[in-house]
Chain length 202, copies 2
Amino acid sequence: MCGAMYREDGQQLNEEEYIESFPLGFQFKPTDEELVQSYLMRKIKNLKLPCNRIREVDLYKFPTPQSLVEKYALIKNRESKWYFFSPRIKKYLNGDRPNRITPGGYWKLTGRDAPVCSRGQTIGKKRTLCFYEGKPTSAKKTNWIMHEFRINEQGHTTSYDDSMKLDDWVLCKVFERNIGSNATTQRDTTEVCNDANQQSLE
Amino acid sequence: MCGAMYREDGQQLNEEEYIESFPLGFQFKPTDEELVQSYLMRKIKNLKLPCNRIREVDLYKFPTPQSLVEKYALIKNRESKWYFFSPRIKKYLNGDRPNRITPGGYWKLTGRDAPVCSRGQTIGKKRTLCFYEGKPTSAKKTNWIMHEFRINEQGHTTSYDDSMKLDDWVLCKVFERNIGSNATTQRDTTEVCNDANQQSLE
């Protein structure tokens, strides 16, 4: 239960009510450091986690990101991305490349490992992937993006050498890239309002 | 008072306690649309505002952004920028250029007006400014940025023709640009952790 908050009549709020009760403008936007340090590391060590909206799934069993996210409604104006804990399996028995294939397509790496830092130390790694829908020979690139976080422990997989399991858990941030607007520049490129640039940028 | 929330013992939380009680990862990050629609428009119409952390100041009376923000502590891990309502005065009696000079420097426009959209309509405008410290002939550019929001009402200033007042209120988002890391690309450019890239990017 996220936070023991009560209304004036003594009624305890459920998780959605509690989060919806936050003032306008408060959104769930954890930093990479928070995701690795406060969530992923604790998950792997089987410790109690802070209140969170991170779901346990077997991510690569879902054909597409849409089939994954439609099970988990976001709380309007509070959340804009989905967060999941998922195990990973190996692509091949001998080796440590993760499987990226799903029943409906595959997740393709689009960047290099980036370190996740805390107090000048590397505590984890972050990779960016993009979902391609369809068979490998004719797959179409989609706007679905995943940021995959794993912890920075060497030798973490030794105990799984005889199985196909690669990790107990990685943390996956999944979202659909905003089409038609450049969310990453301070200079706005749009001059008029229309449906394509509905989402105000933060 | 932001939200009537109570602990189990019946004690009401003050504003800081209430906000600090939110789960890890929840931050005050209102969208541009929220800022204009739910805050600025209502402020101008003298209507009650949702719970917020937007301070009323006379922004151009403060010599520098530092002198402004040091009065208003941010709540750690919840807020990363300062928000202010401020009136604006004209640069010249005849005309509608705003004064951008402060006792310690000036705010300089760095981009064009961008529309703030809601449901396909323009509800306001957003401008970006950068603070330069010192006298105009020898001023040094700083890393302080302001996003200035105003509403999209023509003829709004007619009632002020005989005075130096330009607006009742604009909404200003003030922050220091993150030095040494590119917060705007999906590809992380850093490969090692050190003090310069402490802040995990969201």
